[in-house]
Symmetry: C2
Subunit: 194 residues, 2 copies
DNA sequence: CTGATGTTAGTACCAAGTGCTAATAGCGGG
DNA sequence: CCCGCTATTAGCACTTGGTACTAACATCAG
């Protein structure tokens, strides 16, 4: 099934994109040409060798991993915090956070930033969200920086409850408001921080 | 700065964990021992060679990519959907979704599942969340499967608005309730039911 | 002094290439 | 039918980052 050069090169591109882990040897079998032809094709198409391809994928993952680690704790970056009072975090909206269609940030990212900030501002290691009311006032698009300000507006330590209000803004314009009823998981016997 | 074997091997492990892209050559310089010693150390510690390490990272990323693609669209997996009426999705809570401390799922994951399901059930490509009220009734822990059921309870096509109620349960027990006011971004020009 | 442990050196070999030269095949036009 | 062109194939030297193995030390303890 020898196909003409151009067609083969297109197929080659696709094959390697789908599976970067394939060797020239394997490709030569698949396309029924010599290894050298595969190499020439790769050169013409500027496709790097197997090891470089793999490395590229790995580096990408590695960088992503570093990026997603802090995300696990708090979505966005906390730039100011006063425990039990208020906190501020920023979150840069990237292409992966938006609907492809219209570039508008998906609601759960704004929620995640606000909610994790609400958790962080509580002077508790184990705060849980009980209830919450959200308003998505304006769409946020990729490239924008969301500044979320959380404020503890009402605290009932005896009931292990607190209310946190989070207001998020882009360029001073409010885009999101959320109120969170939080539950403190630790009893108010002090000093059992860990 | 030659340290005893044991100490060096521990440091070696850490170094490679932090940066899997380092060669034996570079390590031998860093620890001021011969390349052979590094190789012996790696063998004792069962650490694979550079290329295998890189490949491992790459494969991981590659698999994750496949996994995270649908996640970008809908958090959880849609198992049933009737456009403009109702939809069901399941979401398996994994270790990365919970607080390390108490294994309880972070709120924004439950929200994300519910919110993206609310978006999906709308018979619109471009639905946005306007307002939302949430109740986190019971904590969800790693290993549990959350089944979210979304229902369009009120639709005002003329105002481009709709209300969606999502109830999430683990083993038939309700753990989360959310109501979402959604905005349809497209004009209701045609009756394109599907 | 002997032995065990740890370290270093050196060789052969491997995979998956690059870079280069040279031969050959196939085909189209004049 | 031959000329020239492109495409393909072959072969060789060399590269990286190793494995596998052997052999030579070094150091210290008993």
């Amino acid at each position: 099934m020898r196909r003409p050069k151009k067609e083969r090169q297109q197929a080659l591109k696709d094959t390697i994109r789908d599976n970067p882990f394939v060797t020239d040897e394997e490709l030569s079998v698949e396309f029924d040409v010599s290894v050298q032809t595969i190499r020439l094709d790769r050169m013409e198409l500027a496709i790097p060798e197997l090891r470089e391809r793999i490395k590229h994928v790995a580096v990408k993952t590695f960088e992503d991993e570093v990026k997603s680690l802090p995300i696990d704790e708090v979505i966005g970056e906390i730039i100011d915090i006063e425990l039990d009072k208020k906190a501020i975090s920023i979150f840069d909206v990237k292409p992966e956070h938006v609907f492809q269609r219209n570039q508008i940030a998906r609601g759960h990212h704004l929620f995640a930033q606000a909610n994790s900030l609400a958790v962080a501002v509580m002077n508790e290691e184990l705060a849980l969200t009980v209830k919450s009311e959200l308003q998505f006032l304006r769409p946020v698009t990729a490239g924008q920086r969301v500044v979320a300000k959380a404020e503890v507006i009402d605290s009932h330590p005896e009931k292990n409850r607190a209310f946190v209000k989070v207001v998020s803004a882009v360029d001073q314009v409010t885009v999101f408001i959320g109120t969170f009823e939080m539950y403190r998981m630790t009893e108010q016997s002090e000093g059992d921080e860990k």
